[in-house]
């Protein structure tokens, strides 16, 4: 991907007043450098010349793709959480489990804090994130600018790093590697649904162009 850097911050002194047009400048969130707001084409990336942070990275067809992927994720979600992910078979005994059982049994065993954290990071937050992305992209797609749209976007931004489906996926892989010496493992439908859910959830958050979404919400006549 081509990385284009704007170097106005290094060459020209910007006026020390608040008088200039706020649409003409952008600031780096990591080092606060004030830069000229130059248009960036899709497939290109604008990086801060001082600290290297990505400032703009427009996505193609962002709303449609986010909508499609978040809907896919929501459809797969109940199957990924409630269907058994695998069956272990050892010494004639069989045992299978799903993700919801993992949370529930940890709660029963007395480690309630662990159960709550696992429930939040791998069951509840991923669902809320998908719902928020679905609602926001659906509203933008059909140009329904509901006046709570900015709250949905803010909730999504704050929840973003607390949904940990990809870490949970690595956890499933480690569990498989840990158990495959001791038991015969049969992979059930839930595992494949979970992989699909992970792909849809990651895809939808990668496809979302935050800048474009915020611009549309701002110009859609949100009133305060």
């Amino acid at each position: 991907m081509h990385c284009e850097t704007s170097n106005i911050g290094h060459q020209t002194m910007l006026p020390q007043t608040t008088d200039f047009d706020l649409d003409q400048v952008i600031a780096c969130p990591d080092c606060d450098l004030l830069l000229e707001n130059i248009p960036v084409a899709t497939g290109e990336k604008l990086c801060c010349p001082r600290c290297g942070e990505t400032l703009k990275e427009p996505k193609t067809n962002s709303i449609n793709r986010t909508l499609a992927l978040s809907l896919t994720g929501l459809l797969l979600y109940p199957f990924a959480i409630f269907m058994p992910i695998m069956t272990l078979n050892t010494m004639g005994l069989e045992n299978s489990g799903n993700i919801f059982d993992g949370v529930f049994m940890t709660w029963i065993s007395g480690y309630r804090f662990i159960a709550v954290i696992v429930a939040l990071t791998s069951v509840i937050f991923p669902l809320i994130k998908l719902l928020l992305l679905f609602l926001v992209s659906l509203s933008l797609k059909f140009k329904r600018y509901h006046n709570s749209l900015h709250l949905l976007m803010r909730s999504y931004i704050h929840l973003d790093e607390w949904g940990m489906l990809e870490v949970f996926m690595l956890g499933i892989l480690v569990t498989i590697i840990k158990m495959h010496h001791m038991a015969a493992i049969h992979y059930d439908a839930g595992l494949f649904c979970f992989v699909g859910l992970l792909a849809a959830a990651l895809g939808s958050s990668i496809m979302m162009d935050k800048e474009e979404f915020w611009k549309l919400i701002e110009n859609g006549g949100v009133s305060y």
Binding site: L14, L22, L34, E53, T90, N95, M164, M179, K210
Partner: protein
């Protein structure tokens, strides 16, 4: 010398990254686009980050010294710490998976705590060198934080998958809540830290 948004009297909204005036007559208290409170820098950033990093450092010891998992095989309980689990994988010859767990459970939390302390100290002592590298280091800390939850997820999964009532069961052990505490404290420390303070110093 280049201009910062702060020097120009502008603040970046924490949530939606809109530039809004933060000085003079036109200063705004909340973002006109998303409604979030406007601050030039994250409020109380240094104090909060220090408190959370130190809390994580304290919790790091019980998390690693106490047993994190209880394996009950035929009525004989066997407690193991995080390090025991990693040594087990290396003895089995599964070096790859041993390295993954060693990285996620021991090296990453340790790396995060040490680097956050270095970054915070560098602000206090106004070390103005390696600014770009320190900012990149902070972005790495932000990214890797969540991966430490790996061990907790594995225990929750083993608990439900290896549940052959009278033969063998696996449950969490006392270190698990401390370990979750370390991960949550370091994640919040990274969230409350404002990397722009490095450049202000």
């Amino acid at each position: 010398m280049s201009t910062t948004a702060k020097a120009a009297g502008l603040a970046l909204c924490h949530d939606c990254h809109k530039l809004v005036p933060a000085a003079g007559k036109s200063a705004l208290a909340s973002c006109p686009r998303c409604g979030a409170a406007i601050h030039l820098r994250k409020p109380g950033s240094l104090n909060r980050s220090w408190a959370l990093v130190l809390a994580a450092l304290i919790l790091y010891f019980p998390a690693n010294l106490l047993p994190i998992m209880l394996v009950d095989f035929m009525g004989s309980p066997d407690l193991s710490t995080i390090m025991d689990g990693i040594i087990y994988f290396f003895q089995e010859g599964s070096y790859g998976i041993g390295a993954v767990i060693l990285t996620a459970s021991i090296l990453v939390p340790c790396f995060k705590i040490i680097c956050l302390i270095l970054i915070l100290l560098s602000i206090h002592f106004r070390w103005r060198s390696w600014l770009r590298h320190k900012t990149i280091l902070f972005r790495i800390i932000e990214f890797i934080g969540r991966w430490s939850m790996l061990d907790i997820f594995v225990i929750a999964l083993l608990h439900v998958m290896v549940n052959f009532e009278n033969i063998t069961t696996i449950t969490a052990a006392p270190a698990a809540p401390y370990f979750v505490g370390v991960v949550i404290c370091t994640m919040f420390a990274a969230i409350t830290f404002d990397p722009r303070l490095l450049w202000d110093a």
